[in-house]
Amino acid sequence: MIDVNFQLKGSAITVVVLAIIRYEPKSLVEELKEKIAQAPQFFVNSPVLINLDKLENPESLKKVADLLTICRELDLQPLGFSGVPDVLLAPVNKTGLAILPTPSERALKLPKQEAPAAETVVERVVETVVETVVETVIEERLVQRQSKVITRPVRSGQQIYAEGADLIVLAQVSEGAEVLADGHIHIYGTLRGRALAGVRGDESARIFCQQMEAELVSVAGNFVLQDSLPKELFKKPVQVSLQGEKVVVDALVSS
């Protein structure tokens, strides 16, 4: 038997950040749908943090609830907001979702305003809170997730996802199989299936494979199909990277 009713733990989760640049409900829905259609399985019930830091027209977002409805209808789960401009603080507060500090401002903003009225004891508490926050951030940066290593062939119908890490496959990836990673993907065999690197938006992610026969390769949601691959690189060792919004396939030449 456990004699306590709860435990407090710290945990870091990966969320998709939806940074709104201009808020126009109609075009936003369409653009979102298009993006989701590129990789539907990653967005289903995906937690989303709405960032309003870059919002050009804050006035238009007075009805924040509408934006949340849009997200939920697209099967996204809004967790909270960050970078909320002052004009929107009140309406955002009403939604009941969390308001998270953007990395640059941390948690300092709110407590400071109340400082003149507060007693020294309170101030000390605030200080310690701030300290721990900073500590956790440092810790997150140091911890590196272990790459996922697969030693057996990835067969048709199998899907392997290296969450928050690189994926290394020491065998072939069959036609109809799918390998995904938040980081790079290395395949030391033939790639006949689909490989999607940087699925949470890391545009610097790359795919390396020994023999290129892929059905589809994608970096950060931008993809190319087999038909669009350069013919001369078919069945050759290649690397796939993103240059701008274009997925580029290059020969892997050992010097």
Partner: protein, 269 residues
């Protein structure tokens, strides 16, 4: 402990039952006491290929449900010493098999037999999963044709993830490729995948190549496993495959088209 062999493919009609009958017969002929189980509940076929359809009284489902004993349901093969058939039920469906029930039957058979050959139904549903779950060895039957190869690849993935050995983190199932209905003439004409093509895609060791042969159809209709017909290429190829399964290293045959003799070419036959 008996070795449990599943004969599987994903795709239907590629020769699973023919191969199950041939391989179990071949093992028994070499002195290994063998039982072959038909897992295709509802679409019973193995009894026909083995030529014992008129001797089926109780079946696999009866035993699983405790309605008969194992000995009542096992049919002793009349041609081959040490070979037994456990037929499927024709009237039930695949949900009639429970994992606990199948496990109990397999454990019971393990005491008496050296090899248990499980003839899997097509597909990747309940019936097929049940047939492969307990396997130590898998024989993946494939035709030299793209859809069959893809389905075999899928079933290999399932062997790796949904079998008992996978779930309990034991040593993985030993996988073997059995290429059936191989026609070297059509391969040379580019109409059929070659052995090398299939081996490259599936990347598992090749157990044997069974040439396309009229003898197979004839043997099926007569209820005689084709392996017993040693005059035919298919029969010889199955015998080679069984020898390889038992660890012999013998070269593959029947991979090249037969060169027509001058006289035959002249006569146009």
């Amino acid at each position: 402990m008996a070795k449990i062999i599943v004969v599987t493919s994903g795709k239907g009609g590629v020769g699973k039952t023919t191969s199950s009958a041939a391989i179990s017969t071949g093992l028994a002929m070499r002195g290994h006491k063998t039982v072959v189980i038909d897992f295709d509940v509802g679409l019973r076929n193995l009894d026909l290929i083995m030529g014992c359809e008129r001797r089926v009284v109780y079946d696999f489902v009866n035993v699983v449900k405790g309605e008969s004993t194992l000995n009542q349901a096992l049919i002793k093969d009349k041609r081959t010493e040490g070979l037994y058939v456990l037929p499927a039920s024709q009237t039930r469906d695949k949900d009639a098999l429970t994992r606990e029930g199948v496990e109990a039957v397999i454990n019971e058979l393990s005491k008496d037999f050296e090899y248990i050959v499980c003839d899997s139904p097509a597909g990747i549903e309940q019936g097929a999963l049940m047939a492969l779950y307990f396997a130590d060895i898998a024989i993946v039957v494939t035709n030299p044709e793209v859809s069959s190869v893809r389905d075999s690849d899928r079933i290999l993935g399932i062997l790796q993830s949904k079998s008992r050995r996978a779930e309990q983190n034991l040593e993985p199932i030993k996988e073997h490729l059995l290429l059936t209905r191989y026609n070297p003439v059509r391969v040379e004409a580019g109409e059929m995948l070659s052995v090398n093509d299939v081996e490259e895609i599936l990347a598992i060791p090749l157990l044997g190549v069974i040439p396309e042969s009229e003898a197979v159809l004839k043997a099926s209709n007569q209820g005689t496993p084709v392996i017993l017909d040693e005059a035919t290429q298919a029969g010889q190829a199955y015998n080679d495959a069984v020898d390889r399964l038992l660890g012999k290293d013998i070269p593959h045959r029947f991979l090249e088209a037969e060169k027509k003799s001058f006289l035959k070419r002249l006569l146009g036959v």
